[in-house]
Symmetry: C2
């Protein structure tokens, strides 16, 4: 039994979404069309079109929002001297969820990837450089992923920051053992970073 | 930082899909809207509307298809004396993928669930009974899930079959140890079923 053509096309479109494999995509396609009126499919299509009609990139930090400038950039209580550079709005949400940062953001919308033909121009680095040149920025926090591509992206930005704003403090998120994980099950690269980056114990 | 209203509504709609949690839903929403033209969101919305316009339930087996009668029911080479009852088209796909069954199907579109207020009427059991009454059916294979609700659904159908077609052979999928799994890591209920359902070894 093969899927009917339209069902297969829908499943293929769903399978391109991050974290959804081909079998999940089929299951979701069936789910969306299982009621007689296809109410779920129509509703999701409507939410997609509604969002597509309203959502755009913040002119300042490049995150996704529905106004010229996003709520975070407009928030006067934010610490304007700190600029945290993340790859995606999802990364930004995680940092916000940690309630440990009150500065501003710049969302790259990806990372440098020679394989996927994504260079500094595609990521709009010139806009980022203009942002970094603003004198109120005193610290740039590089919060790209700890992957080869994320590290390369951070390195590239660090070089640009050093060239245009040598006075700026440049930091990278700490690497180490995640909370709630037993040492025994931690990979050696993470353990190495945790040892090299060890800190004085607070109890002494 | 909260998601903007339209983004949040899209993420909420995505989070209702099977197997997608709230965080995955946010990630997918960002992904769909990350390009400037929102091409991905428009494309998925179009596939949804296209599928909703064409896909319907097979008049005979109730699976999802794009014609009055699905390809499987129309296939003259199928063994018409066997009727396999599954919960969803996804279950049907898995059985088809096993290449071990050449009979016909009936897709319930769910299982009995008092909690979700889904009884025999909601599942259209009267249509199923009519199908089972057709004299060409000689065996009904109950392939609902091995969960409390799936077992209850199978039990309910078994009673109905016994009442309307006492001559019919009624079978249920075998329970036992899955392929590729070590005994040590198998749950005790599964092991109990495997022992009670043991078969003569083929080597003797």
């Amino acid at each position: 039994m093969a899927l009917s053509p339209k069902l297969r096309r829908l499943a293929e479109a769903l399978a391109e979404l991050p974290g959804i494999g081909p079998l999940s995509a089929q299951r979701i396609a069936f789910h969306l069309l299982s009621d007689d009126e296809h109410a779920e499919a129509h509703r999701l299509a409507k939410e997609l079109e509604d969002a597509a009609a309203s959502v755009r990139h913040c002119a300042r930090c490049n995150t996704l929002c529905e106004s010229e400038i996003c709520d975070t950039c407009s928030d006067e209580t934010r610490e304007k001297d700190k600029l945290c550079i993340v790859e995606t709005p999802a990364d930004q949400l995680v940092i916000e969820g940690s309630h440990s940062y009150r500065g501003l953001y710049y969302v790259l919308g990806g990372r440098l990837s020679p394989v996927e033909n994504r260079g500094p121009e595609q990521l709009g680095f010139s806009r980022l450089i203009e942002r970094i040149k603003e004198p109120e920025v005193k610290e740039v926090i590089l919060a790209t992923s700890f992957t080869a591509e994320g590290d390369a992206t951070a390195h590239y930005i660090a070089l640009a920051v050093s060239r245009h704003r040598p006075d700026i403090r440049l930091t990278r998120l700490a690497r180490g053992i995640p909370t709630g994980i037993e040492l025994e099950y931690t990979d050696v690269a993470t353990v190495a970073h945790a040892i090299l980056g060890r800190r004085d114990a607070e109890s002494r």
